[in-house]
């Protein structure tokens, strides 16, 4: 039960952080150039991600032995968790600037300003597609890393999907970048959850 809560929590929090970054990009395009193209771009990105996950997921699970998969995914979990802890500590110490959603929003707006409006807004479509696809790829990795070895993949998937839905719903209501979310604190929490799940994998080798 405790492991399931941790799995869901890590997947939810990690996916929420990445979804917020994707939301910022879609908002920047939508509020500047209209909603049709970025929403189409978002839809295409999500469908592409779903296809990628299904195809590669099947390939990996059917071709790679379980013990090898456990070792690889366990290692990736640790590296990912340690990376987030590393960045969170440096940001808390003031060595690196905190991630600022308002700045990301302004940067995306300045990138697309100056491009004239066209009947088919390919600029808006492409920026939204690229942003949502890349952030979505990170969500996929978080969910697979968190749920992969513990048999909690359905729980992790549920956590990831719920995070995306919650962030999208908040974005729909607020229509502003979610700059007040304590992103660094969330990264600390996810980093700790992921790195502490590792000893379970290492202490059960199957070689």
């Amino acid at each position: 039960m405790y492991a399931q809560v941790l799995t869901f929590g890590a997947a939810f929090l990690g996916s929420a952080v990445e979804s917020i970054e994707a939301l910022t990009i879609v908002l920047a395009v939508g509020l500047t150039r209209g909603w049709r193209s970025p929403l189409y771009g978002t839809l295409v990105a999500l469908i592409s991600l779903a296809v990628l996950v299904v195809v590669f997921g099947q390939l990996i699970v059917t071709r790679v032995p379980e013990s090898t998969l456990k070792l690889i995914i366990g290692t990736l979990i640790v590296l990912f968790g340690m990376r987030w802890l590393h960045k969170a500590v440096l940001r808390s110490a003031g060595v690196v600037a905190m991630h600022d959603e308002d700045k990301s929003y302004a940067k995306t707006v300045s990138e697309i300003e100056g491009h004239g409006a066209a009947r088919q807004d390919w600029i808006g479509f492409t920026i939204a597609l690229k942003g949502v696809f890349l952030e979505g790829l990170e969500v996929v990795f978080i969910v697979v890393a968190v749920g992969g070895t513990s048999g909690g993949l359905p729980i992790a998937v549920a956590g990831g999907l719920l995070a995306m839905v919650v962030v999208a719903a908040i974005g729909l209501v607020v229509r502003k970048p979610l700059a007040r979310v304590p992103e660094n604190t969330l990264k600390y929490a996810v980093g700790i959850i992921l790195t502490t799940s590792f000893p379970r994998s290492v202490s059960q080798p199957s070689i």
């Binding site: 070792l71 366990g74 290692t75 990736l76 640790v78 590296l79 990912f80 340690m82 990376r83 802890l85 590393h86 960045k87 500590v89 440096l90 110490a93 060595v95 690196v96 690229k130 696809f133 890349l134 790829l137 990170e138 990795f141 790195t195 590792f198 000893p199 290492v202 202490s203 080798p205 070689i207």
Partner: protein, 73 residues
């Protein structure tokens, strides 16, 4: 092609910040896995965890000092 390269770099960036630190982490994990597969002592997993924690603290402190030095120049 540029999009695929950007996606690849983004995914790699999730796991690798500094190649040396990543290499040390993987070496600790690999050594721990090999030793644990031969000597089934659960306390050894704790040793691996302490090793990883120590190298994280060291790498983070080192980067903070390097940035502080470059900021003061």
């Amino acid at each position: 092609m540029r999009f695929i390269r950007a996606a690849g770099a983004e995914v790699l960036g999730l796991f690798v910040g500094d190649w040396l630190q990543t290499g040390v982490s993987i070496a600790i994990i690999a050594l721990g896995w090999l030793v644990l597969s031969r000597v089934h002592l659960e306390g050894l997993a704790f040793v691996v965890a302490v090793g990883l924690a120590a190298q994280l603290v060291y790498a983070t402190t080192l980067e903070a000092r390097q940035r502080a030095r470059s900021d003061s120049h």
